[in-house]
Symmetry: C2
Subunit: 364 residues, 2 copies
């Protein structure tokens, strides 16, 4: 049986990396008791909590954490009419946290994710591994059979072109889950007892031109490099679909990373995913998505961005246009989504004016 780690204190690093350059974004409807377990790892960092349900409810945050909390009223107040692009009653609202952050890096995690143990029994500091992933280059143009060549004890293998060994900047670090795997409703229904117990000790770059299902449960990214593409769409209350927020962000992000020459890594770190969500509720949320993804994925696989799309914002606006042109025939929902994508970029630019100072001294 897989179990979460218990003693996490000992595994905390003496000097937390990127302490002033990274925000942890957590969407929640519950009390954040799960933070107790993460305390040794998260305490030095600033938290941005986005409350995804009824704003009159009080979210209890354990003592001693440095945080800001936004509920729906805050989102409406800050964004005004542009608040329409932020989902309500759905964890997709987490992307509001990306918008208001002023840091270079984001780590986002779900409140049912606990600290996992590596095969030796040691508590895994997921954030530390994400930072390692983000601070080392990616290799999207050619596959390295020993996985991430920048890890200790690994390198590029024979036959890997030397001109590609510099790699490209890493924009996204996608972490995985022990215990409850991130399955869709049909798979949950068919395999209710399946647990992920396999610890795969690897990080790898997802090759250029290949799409992947990005899960928002345990995810980090470079906000300066790719932030405006991390829009989690229109889900939840009043929308015909749910549980495709992170998928949507992942498809858009990957197409834009490929276009701009940025890298996406997946693999380590693992978190311990504690609770399977209700497969019947999930099926209702996913139902339309199961059909739609059969058309959405070929759309993204074929999407080409013109050369003059040199910023993430320009790429994203162009993608919105293509979504309107090519996916509206699938369902009118995509018309609405394409408009929300544009609104999202307007909101992003409003809250993140160009040239705004960022902690590491670079400009976005």
């Amino acid at each position: 049986m897989v179990e979460p780690a218990t003693a996490t204190q000992a595994a905390a690093p003496a000097v937390p990396q990127l302490k002033d350059e990274l925000d942890i974004v957590i969407p929640t409807i519950r009390n954040l008791d799960f933070l107790e377990m993460w305390r040794p790892f998260f305490k030095p960092y600033h938290l941005i909590i986005v409350q995804d349900g009824d704003p009159s409810k009080t979210i209890k945050v354990p003592d001693g954490f440095d945080y800001e909390l936004y509920n729906r009223n805050d989102i409406n107040r800050i964004l005004g009419p542009k608040a329409s692009c932020i989902s309500f009653k759905d964890s997709a609202c987490r992307c509001f946290g990306y918008l208001v952050s002023k840091k270079k890096y984001i780590f986002t995690i779900d409140d049912d994710c606990f600290v996992a143990k590596d095969p030796s029994g040691k508590a895994i500091n997921a954030l530390e591994q994400h930072i390692k992933n983000l601070l080392s280059p990616s290799t999207p143009f050619f596959f390295n059979t020993l996985y991430d060549p920048f890890r200790e004890g690994a390198d590029f293998v024979r036959g890997y072109p030397f001109s590609l060994r510099e790699g490209v900047p890493t924009a996204v670090s996608h972490g995985l889950w022990l215990n409850i795997p991130d399955y869709d409703a049909p798979t949950q229904l068919v395999k209710p007892l399946e647990r992920n117990t396999r610890f795969v000790d690897a990080v790898l770059t997802i090759p250029k031109g290949t799409l992947f299902p990005m899960c928002g449960m345990n995810l980090a990214f470079d906000r300066e490099l790719i932030g405006p593409a991390m829009y989690f769409g229109l889900m939840g209350d009043g929308q015909p679909i749910g549980r495709y927020d992170d998928m949507w962000a992942g498809w858009c992000t990957k197409v834009i990373c490929d276009h701009l020459g940025l890298g996406v890594k997946t693999g380590l770190p693992y978190i311990f995913h504690s609770k399977a969500s209700n497969p019947f509720v999930n099926l209702r949320k996913e139902y339309k998505g199961i059909f739609w993804q059969e058309e959405i994925i070929p759309f993204f696989q074929q999407a080409v961005l013109p050369k003059d799309c040199t910023t993430v914002q320009k790429c994203y606006i162009e993608l919105a246009k293509q979504v309107k042109d090519k996916l509206s025939k699938v369902d009118p929902y995509f018309d609405k989504l394409a408009e929300a994508m544009v609104t999202w970029i307007e909101a992003w630019d409003e809250l993140n004016p160009t040239g705004a100072s960022v902690p590491n001294g670079k400009t976005a």
Copy 2:
């Protein structure tokens, strides 16, 4: 420290899979003492040994193995003038074994590869894992973040299109190496002490459109599906280059698999690679390849095969034409190589006439 396994007997399966449908091809210049360690796993299978040096030397094969052995004289006798396409004094000659085999599957292994141990200390039956890889589908069109969805305890994750879950037939299974990693001469020179000690418990499909450095040390493939593409080129005696035989086969194979909708898997199984080859000797062999690969790889990345290339042979002949057209300007060697590629296919077709019966009853 990494060490090879010692007690392998206990790990042998009661019923060897594909016993009559798989040949093990071994190129060698030495005595095959390494087979002692593999005995429990290899004994039920037929071996094809290709002697890559002086034919007057006697190769000693341990008792009790079922094998056929070919030296240069045999190759010349069997192929006549077409023998010119088979390398001499280089392990690239192993592909002669693929040519004369009449089985559906090939496993090829170097004679300095021993049985590795998994993290629990159990001897790894590499052949058994290769067979698992080859008999389960590949998923080249979309990345699955939990790796091979066909492994026990794994599946397709949320967001993986259902229309792609059938997968495609797996043509190649590329295994890895513990202890001595497969580095090029410059990396060997820079990191003489580096050992691969990381056991990554994963098998994954290399996505469509992505090339990889295929190592011939621990490799299995479906000869019926992809055999004619597994030509190891002109290396060794009389050639300006060495140590690019498997790379060449890998590039050609991947382009053809992508074109024909076949899968290539990499990852498990590991073997224990015992001996680092001499980096100075390797540098001399690789020297030109280090420059050439910078042009060869973009060539293969851009290679497009026309729709009427519906068999591996047709694809390969077309690739030979493109090599002649586009790589001859890099070096006259590629002219010669392109001609040898055509000769190889002629030899293949001569020794493997269409409609020839194959053990599993299908025709190639």
